[in-house]
Amino acid sequence: MLDRFMQSRLRGLVILALILIILPAFLGNPFHYELVTQIAIIAATVVGLNLLVGFAGQISLGHAGFFGLGAYFTGIATGTYGWSSIPALLVGAILVGIVAWIVGRPILRLKGHYLSMATLAVGFIIAIILNNERALTGGPDGMPVPPFEVFGWELSAFGRYSLFGLDIEGFQAWYIFASVVLLVAVWFALNLIESPIGRALRSVHGSEVAASVVGVNTAKYKSLVFVISAIYASLMGGLYAHFQGFITPAVASFEFSILLITMVVLGGMGSTFGVILGAVVLKLLPQVLADFQELETVMFGLILMMTMIFMPKGLLPTLTAIVSKRIRKKAGGEA
């Protein structure tokens, strides 16, 4: 029974759900909840980015641009034009998907890392637009975003709600919401990876020639996964904007793009749960090292390098390998 569960493809998802359920027991104050909710939203973004980087082997250095575009579209649509949240998030995602498709389609026909150059440029362009279109975005000072709202029901971090007769605070409600979003994002990613589409994506990484001779249109699949990962970023950007209630162009910055990539590399390229761990570690690190704030970028660079050299598979896959080796050794010793 337990054995079969451990073999099951949804094992990781169940463990993640359990962690998310137990976690509130260790969260003392609203600040903790805020941090964990941010981590969940960013982790979902990274899960999407990992589809591109870890599975299709393409690098995007401008994912914060898509995240920022989603955040600002949601902010402007709901704040300035009074849209409801769901249509704002969806239309934003479609627009970002179209932008990604237009950028990716011509470039992804080429082999090699041209996508990283193009996305780097796109990320910068988006950041510049957000900084300069003051009338729309408030420029570098940022803009306020109204709370998440569906059919007149608002989810605000400062509200009070009742869930199954239990009174909860707004930040707790947001934690639950973000947790569900993360679980759904992971479930979609797992389903995608373990499917004909997912195999085609992984084959593009493994051997593009092999993929093409068995009929995989490699350019099409690379574009598809790029668009999907951009849509993940856009949706999460929109949620992030609602949750924070205030956004600045920093959400679309180059630094944030690098942070997202570092999370993928550190956690483990191609490991959906690994990259979540990557997001957790890299979001918590600045809290622990608050005294060295000015060295943050240097630190992330160092982590990226160290991971590449000493743990090319990433944190979670390396740890799993060590643990299973220990277990096997132990089992072998007893036998």
Partner: protein, 252 residues
């Protein structure tokens, strides 16, 4: 009867070097057709041209009567052509059986919606593809690796895995580029038997190979290339007695 694969006046130049020059031949459906020749004769270049990895400088390639000269490899796969490689192309980031299931790509179209929600239709198709891939791995003789990662497989097993992947695509014609390279005598004998079985199924086999015993044993016809040009074409018996071939091979 039109030929399954027909090549007319094919030319490929890399800079000033003519790797393939004025090559014409036709392969009938159901044949085992081998391309032989000394190293650097242009055999692999010819295969790369036929399978769409290179674009010819001149000439035409027809598949089943259709001009496929400028089609991409994946478009050729849709028309029933699949191949293996001299430098094996295995996806090392996947398990052995996933590599074979990849071969089912064209048979496993599913929408993004079906995929994201993992609807029952997808699960059924995946289970069927898994079963088919497992059968094919048994068929080519790497049934021991059903649960293995591709990285855990031996060289000989990987070569057979590549054939299984190509067969999974249900091709009309399969091109094998030096399948016996690096195999020992026992493995080569097993390979010969496998190619025979594939041909018996009615799949046309095109073969680039150095192992003369293997080639002469299983081929219906042979094409001999030398410096990118056709030196001879015919049945194994005709080739064996062709003075030009003897001269090229024995340097006489």
């Amino acid at each position: 009867m039109t030929a399954l694969v027909e090549v007319k006046g094919l030319d490929k130049a890399f800079g000033g070097v003519h790797a393939v020059e004025g090559v014409s031949f036709a392969v009938e459906a159901g044949q085992v057709y081998s391309v032989i020749g000394p190293n650097g004769a242009g055999k692999t270049t010819l295969f790369n041209l036929i399978t769409g990895l290179y674009i010819p400088s001149k000439g035409q390639i027809l598949l089943n009567g259709e001009n496929t000269t400028r089609l991409e490899p994946n478009q050729l796969a849709e028309r029933g052509m699949c191949r293996t490689f001299q430098q094996m192309q295995i996806c090392m980031n996947m398990t052995a059986i996933e590599n074979v299931m990849l071969g089912r790509h064209l048979q496993l179209k599913s929408s993004l919606f079906t995929t994201l929600f993992r609807l029952p239709s997808l699960r059924r198709n995946e289970a069927a593809a898994h079963k088919r891939a497992a059968d094919l791995m048994e068929y080519v003789g790497c049934g021991d690796y059903l649960e293995a990662e591709a990285t855990a497989m031996s060289y000989g097993a990987l070569k057979r895995l590549e054939i299984a992947r190509a067969l999974a695509a249900e091709p009309k014609v399969i091109l094998l580029d030096e399948p016996a390279a690096g195999l020992n005598a026992t493995e080569t004998a097993a390979l010969e038997e496998l190619i025979g079985k594939i041909a018996e199924q009615g799949i046309t086999v095109m073969l680039v190979e150095h192992d003369m015993k293997l080639v002469m044993g299983i081929s219906d016809r042979l094409l001999v290339l030398n410096y990118g040009r056709v030196l001879a074409e015919g049945t194994p018996e005709e080739i064996r007695q062709n003075p030009d071939v003897i001269a090229a091979y024995l340097g006489g």
